[in-house]
Each structure stands twice: as C-alpha cells, then as structure tokens.
C-alpha cells in the first residue's frame, strides 16, 4: 500500500492510543496525589509524571510552577502540548481524514465525533470531581474506536499498520506508567509493603485495567515484584510489555516487505527477551534501568518502521545499493 496511507493509519492509531494512555496516566497520578500528603514535596506526583513523559521542560516554559490544576490542563486541553489529549485526538482525526477512503465509514464517524466533542470541551468542564468522568470518556472513545476498527475494517496491511501503531504506543506508555510509580514515587525501601504502598500499587494496576487480572493470576498480596512481572512479562495481560512486543513482532512479520529485515530482527529480539525473561533478572538489574532501556528499544523500532515503510527511497529496488 501507499507509504503515505500507511503512515496516516499508523499515526491515527498511535494518536488515539496516546490519548487513552494520557488519560490513564493522569488518572493514576490524580489518585496517587490524593493518597499522599507530603507537605515538603507538594505536587511531587505531577512533577514525576511530567518528567517521565518527557514534558517537564515544555510545561515549565508554558505554565511555570507545577500545580495539579495546571498539569491537568496542560495534559488534557493544551493545544501547545504535542502529547495532550486534545492534540492527540486532533491528530487522530486529521490522520483519519487523510485516509477516509481507506478506513470504514463507521471508523471515520467515530473518530470525527470524538474530535468534535473534544473541541467543545472547556476547562470548566474538567474542574473538581468532573475530571474523572473526562478520563472515562477518553477511554470509552478509544475503546469504541478500537472496537469499530475490529468490527468493520478489512484485514489487510492497512489494518496491520493501525495495530502496529497501537501496540508500539501502548508498550511505550505502560513502561512509562510503571516507571512513574516505581522509581520516582518510591520514597524509601522502608515504605515498601506498607499500607500507602499497597494503595499506590493498586492504583497503578487499576489505571492499566489490570487490578482484577492481578487478583486472578496471583490471588495474593500486591507486591511491587509481582506487579512488575504482571505488567512486563505476562503475555496474557493485554497492556503488558510482553503482549505489546509479541503483537508488534507478529505484525512486522506479516507486513514483511523487501526492506523489513532489520525491523523484524529488532522486534523478534525484543519479543524473545520478554517471552523468556524472568522478573528476578529484571529486578536485580534495576527496574528503572530496565524500563529506560526498553523505551529506547521501542523508540529504535519505531524509527525502523519509518525507515522500512514510510520513508521509502526513490530509486527502484534494483537500483538501490543498500539492497544489492
């Protein structure tokens, strides 16, 4: 299929997934902030979230001091934030619009409708306890868009590019979300296992829709080690790193193509490591270090997707020295 069409589909899905994950990230931060009352470090959770999203500097530039209300606004409605929910839903819609002929009518209507509602959302509508309803709305629209895609779209390469965008974005976001909690919010080892810790981890699980999965799998106390195992290595948990890497690898193989060797090598390697990895090794090396390395590899894979499918060289294949 056309590189430009594939590019639009991929970013349409990534943007929608990003909007959903930003809502999840905000949701967990909001819950964590309600749990903690460290007077010495107000808004610590919000700062952590900005840092882990790579948006701290952008935020300071636009809003100055960190406050819950401003960060909520920055991440939800701010048009100047490339990762805000507003911007993500706009991007999803603009990409969808460019490939209206390729996606189903229902997909277009769902994404367009989502954007029209987002456009009419004001700051006042996110104040106080209404903010949770907004996060729910974002998740609902993302679920609906995914459901419509599954229910109506031809299973061709276009569908695969959509899925590729979804899983690359999701893996990236799960890793960041886990990292927020583990590395920055964990004040000291003394608190591990305490009551506050329990609530924090359950908030993380809930924000990834994984709390009931946890209970089914472990039927035991929530411990950081198990949470990490669940969200990194369990392939049956749909938002885990392993589940995402497995999908990405399968999709890369199905998409194939004459330039796909390096991409498939990278996705295959990542998939294999997650498939055969054990949590003890990860904990010994350090969870934060592990997640940081993982994010770099996902970034590398996304870059390789660009090189393989979207930034096609102009010369016909036979004349391409790289492939000789």
């Amino acid at each position: 299929m056309l590189s430009s069409t594939a590019d639009h589909l991929y970013w349409m899905a990534r943007s929608m997934e990003r909007a959903e994950n930003t809502a999840r990230m905000l949701d967990v931060t909001y819950r964590l902030a309600l749990l903690r009352h460290d007077e010495a470090k107000p808004f610590q959770e919000w700062t952590a979230m900005l840092t882990i999203s790579g948006l701290y500097e952008k935020y300071v530039e636009r809003h100055g001091l960190v406050s819950a209300e401003n960060v909520l606004h920055f991440m939800s409605l701010d048009e100047g934030n490339p990762s805000s929910i507003h911007t993500s839903l706009y991007n999803a819609r603009e990409n969808a619009r460019a490939v209206r002929g390729t996606i189903s009518q229902e997909m277009w209507e769902t994404i367009n409708h989502t954007w029209l509602e987002m456009r009419d959302t004001t700051r006042a509508m996110l104040s106080g306890d209404k903010v949770s309803a907004f996060f729910e709305w974002v998740k609902d629209r993302s679920h609906m868009s995914r459901g419509v895609t599954h229910g109506t779209m031809l299973r061709d390469d276009g569908f695969r590019f959509l899925r590729l965008g979804t899983f690359l974005e999701r893996g990236d976001n799960t890793a960041r979300l886990l990292d927020v909690k583990y590395h920055i919010l964990l004040p000291s080892l003394a608190e591990v296992g305490g009551a506050a810790d329990y609530y924090q981890w359950s908030a993380v699980l809930r924000s990834l829709s994984a709390l009931s999965s946890y209970r089914k799998v472990y039927r035991d106390l929530i411990t950081p080690r198990r949470v990490a195992e669940l969200l990194i290595l369990r392939r049956d948990v749909p938002r885990s790193l392993a589940a995402c890497a497995s999908e990405v690898n399968r999709l890369a193989q199905e998409l194939g193509g004459p330039r796909s060797r390096e991409l498939i090598r990278r996705t295959g390697l990542l998939d294999a490591e997650l498939r055969y990895g054990i949590i003890d090794d990860i904990m010994v090396a350090g969870l934060h270090e592990y997640l940081t390395a993982y994010l770099e590899r996902v970034y590398g894979i996304a870059d390789q997707v660009n090189r393989t499918y979207f930034w096609a060289v102009d010369a016909p294949l036979a004349a391409d020295p790289a492939l000789a």
Binding site: L2, S3, G101, E109, R259, A312, D314, P316
Partner: protein, 474 residues
C-alpha cells in the same frame, strides 16, 4: 419572460408520458406519508451531507449539498438521441485535439481560423507532436446540456458547455441514485430505470484500455490535489469505488521516465493516472515551477509514452468558449455528419455583424469571455443593472474578439418538493462521457437544479441542488 419548458407537464397541464407512472405513485401517496418520507429524507440527507462536508476550511461543520427527491425523468427514445449526439460530439472533440496537436488539417482547410487556436492561451505547444494512447485526449468529458424552447422548437436540447479538463460531479450522480433507492424502493419496482451504479467500473476499464504496455495488470491511480480541494470527496469516493490508490503528488516520483508510487514494499510502477489536478500544477519542471502538488518529471515520462494521463494535457483548447462555436464544424469535418445536438445560438463579437447585433440587444443576452472557464467576466443581460451593462459595453468595445454572446435561454423546469407540495424549478444536465478504445456512458448524468424560484443558476455554490436522473428503459 416566456414560460419555460416543463419536464413533467405538457402545456395543457396533463402529465407527460415519461412522468405517468411517477405521477400516479405521487397521487396515491397520502399527505402524511409524504411528510414522513420527507422527514426521513432530511435525516438521510443529513448523514450523507456529513460525508460531503468534512473537507473544507470549516472542516467538521456541515455543508449540505441540497438534494431533491423528485426525479428528473427522461424517456428512453429521447435519451437514445442524446447519447448518439454526445458520442458524436466527444469523438469530434477528441479528433480535433489529436489534429491540433499533430497536422492541424482543420486549420489548413480553413474551417477554423488558425489564430484562434494557436494564439489561444489554452493551446499547449508542449503537446505538439506528442502521441497519446489511442489518440484519446478527453477520457472523461462532462457535457452540459440545457433544454429550452427557442426559435420555434419546443423542449430542444442544447449543448451549453463542454468540460474536458477535470469535470466533476459524478459522485453526486451516484450518491443521488443510492439515496433514491434507499428512500423509495417501491418506485424502482414500478418501472424500469436504467442503472448508473456501474459508472466506476466503466471508468476503470476505460482507463485500463489506454495503459502503456504493462507487466500484468496496469496500475491505475487517481491523482488528487489533496484533502483541501473542494472536490476531494469525489476523488476519495471514486478511488474507493474503483479500488485504486488515491495519490497526491508526494506519493509519486519519476525515475528514468517511469512513474512510480512510494509503497510500503518499495517503489511500484504506475501506468495510468486519472488526474484531478490542472495541467498547470502537474509538473513543476514542465509547467508552473511553484507547484507543490505535482510530480517533477511527470511530463517527460508522459511525452515518452511511459504513462497515460487522463485527461490528456492540453484539452483546454477544445473546451474554451472560443472553440465552442466551432464544434459543429468539427463534427462535420471529422465525422462527416451533421451535429445531432445543437449548440446554443452564439454570436462571435469579433465579427462586425454579430457585434452590432449584440450591442443593440445587450439587455436580453448573456455575454461570456472566451478565455478561461467559469463565470468570470460574464454579463447576464436580463438581471444586470443599467450601469453594469454600460460598463460591460465598454469592455466589449475595447476588445470585441474576446467575447461571445448568447440568447438568455429559459432553462426547462422540473418539479421539486417545497413546503406546499411541488413547484417547478429550472434544471440542467451533465452527462459524463467516457472515451477509451470505445466511447461509452451510463444513461443520464447529474441533474442540477436552481432551488430558488425563478433562478437560472444551478451551481451548488449559489443555491443549486441536485436530483436523481432517470432514463427509462423501454
């Protein structure tokens, strides 16, 4: 002004044959059913309207192209004659374009003044001597027809304009039929209406027949200026219906006089480009250098016969208003036949006699500028103010050869639904004629209707709507 020809009713008020079955159905329909159907129609229009609306500047807002539910009905025999006339006309236009860009026999025979062709800004000297596949230039032609009482003839069809560059509107024809079948399936059960749904198939096979030699199936693509073009919906719609790629200039590149598209599996050769992009923007190396929409090197590949462009480059010379006058002569010259469809009587103001007549009768005439298409530099005598007429007179006198004049025809009317039932409104017709190795078309075309009482303007930008067009089958 005289009363216009009514498509549904004869002068004595009786219903014409082609509308009998419809009128019967309409009479039998209780008022409350009519009302409900209209409500249902409004809802459906609304949904369809959204699909027509989302591309413009106000993306996301709704801009409905009004659609009226009374069909325009053409009798089978009447259509046969129109179809023959259209085929004849388009064949002559294609023969003219081939001739003009090769030996120019029609000029040497003195049948058309050479200066009017070679001095015309629409004549593309870059096309001189270029051989195009099948000698076809206008693969898709939109021929605008109007019906009027004129010069003693009742309800005569006239060709108002030939559109040979990138004519649009066919998506409305297809959507209008889809809408009518959804709303009134019983109507289609009552009488045989010739289908139009196969237009995309006909178009695709037309394009494929004129492909340069290709390995396997020819790769046909539709080239659009992009999503901000007002006809983008149609481009996307047609590409989807034909199952071909919708491409923008950036998706294509030329290497060694061969056109490729950038795909996820590397470059893929393109054989035929159905382009909805004007000549000027096709190739910055050959035409406008500032074009960001085109493909560098495309014209060289085209000249080398490595790719087919539909329509060809340079068709504008045949649909220019200065050439319109000569189309009947083209038909005689190339086909050796008398024209089946008439031109609207036209005065060439470059001729002394014609100029004299026109200047004496400006308030009754429509005066048009010959270069360029569209409604620029046009005078509609009956609706113009005295000052406007005076100013236009000065322009004409300064350069009479740049203008033509025509009588103000009272376009035929067809009923539309209004609040109090049905009422007549003026209409025109744009059939789409396809030329490949053969000339073909789907019966009918796009009927445009002026929704305002008495208005003769059918353009959608100025309060025009559309209707489904039925050609009855015998």
């Amino acid at each position: 002004m005289m009363t216009a020809f009514d498509e549904m009713h004869a002068a004595d008020g009786s219903v014409r044959d082609n509308y009998q079955a419809y009128a019967e159905w309409l009479r039998a329909m209780p008022a409350e059913v009519t009302a409900r159907k209209r409500e249902e129609a409004d809802l459906l229009f609304h949904r369809i309207g959204i699909t027509f609306a989302v591309y413009g500047e106000d993306a996301g807002t709704e801009r409905l192209i009004p659609f009226d539910i009374v069909p325009r009905i053409i009798a089978a025999r009447e259509w046969q004659r129109i179809e023959q006339g259209l085929k004849q006309r388009v064949q002559a236009l294609n023969a003219f374009l081939h001739d003009i860009y090769h030996d120019q026999e029609i000029l040497r025979a003195g049948r058309i003044p050479a200066a009017q062709v070679l001095g015309n800004s629409q004549y593309r000297k870059e096309m001189q001597g270029v051989d195009v596949a099948g000698k076809v230039y206008a693969h898709v032609a939109g021929i605008d027809l109007v019906r009027a009482d004129h010069g003693g003839k009742r309800g005569e069809y006239y060709v108002l304009e030939d559109n040979l560059r990138t004519p649009s509107g066919v998506s409305y024809m297809l959507e209008d039929r889809r809408m009518m079948m959804r709303l009134f399936p019983d109507l289609f059960a009552r009488q045989a209406v010739a289908p139009v749904e196969h237009y995309p198939d006909l178009l695709l096979s037309t394009l494929r027949t004129l492909s340069p030699p290709a390995e396997g199936d020819p790769n046909v693509v539709l080239l659009t200026p992009g999503q901000y073009n007002s006809a983008y919906f149609e481009h996307a719609f047609l590409a989807q219906q034909m199952g071909i790629e919708l491409v923008e200039g950036n998706d294509l590149f030329v290497s060694e006089d061969t056109v490729f598209m950038r795909t996820t599996h590397g470059p893929r050769r393109v054989d035929v480009i159905y382009r909805r992009l004007d000549d000027d923007f096709l190739d910055p190396l050959a035409f406008r250098k500032d074009s960001m929409l085109g493909v560098p090197g495309l014209f060289a590949a085209y000249r080398a016969g490595r790719v087919t462009l539909a329509n060809a480059v340079g068709t504008g010379i045949a649909d220019d208003k200065a050439m319109y006058i000569h189309v009947p002569e083209m038909i005689r010259f190339y086909c050796g036949e008398e024209p089946i469809l008439s031109n609207v009587p036209t005065w060439e103001l470059g001729k002394t006699e014609d100029l004299k007549y026109a200047l004496a009768n400006l308030p009754e005439l429509v005066v048009k500028e010959v270069h360029g298409s569209g409604g620029y530099g046009m005078l509609v005598g009956p609706t113009a103010s005295k000052d406007e007429i005076r100013l236009f007179r000065e322009k004409i006198v300064a350069a009479p050869e740049r203008y033509i004049a025509q009588p103000t025809l009272s376009l035929s009317t067809c009923p539309i639904f209004v609040e109090q039932g049905i009422a007549p409104r003026h209409i025109d017709l744009r059939p789409f004629v396809l030329s490949g190795t053969e000339v073909c078309m789907v019966p009918g075309g796009l009927t445009r209707v002026a929704l305002k009482e008495g208005s003769l303007v059918v353009n959608s930008s100025q309060g025009g709507g559309t209707k489904d067009t039925w050609v009855l089958q015998e």
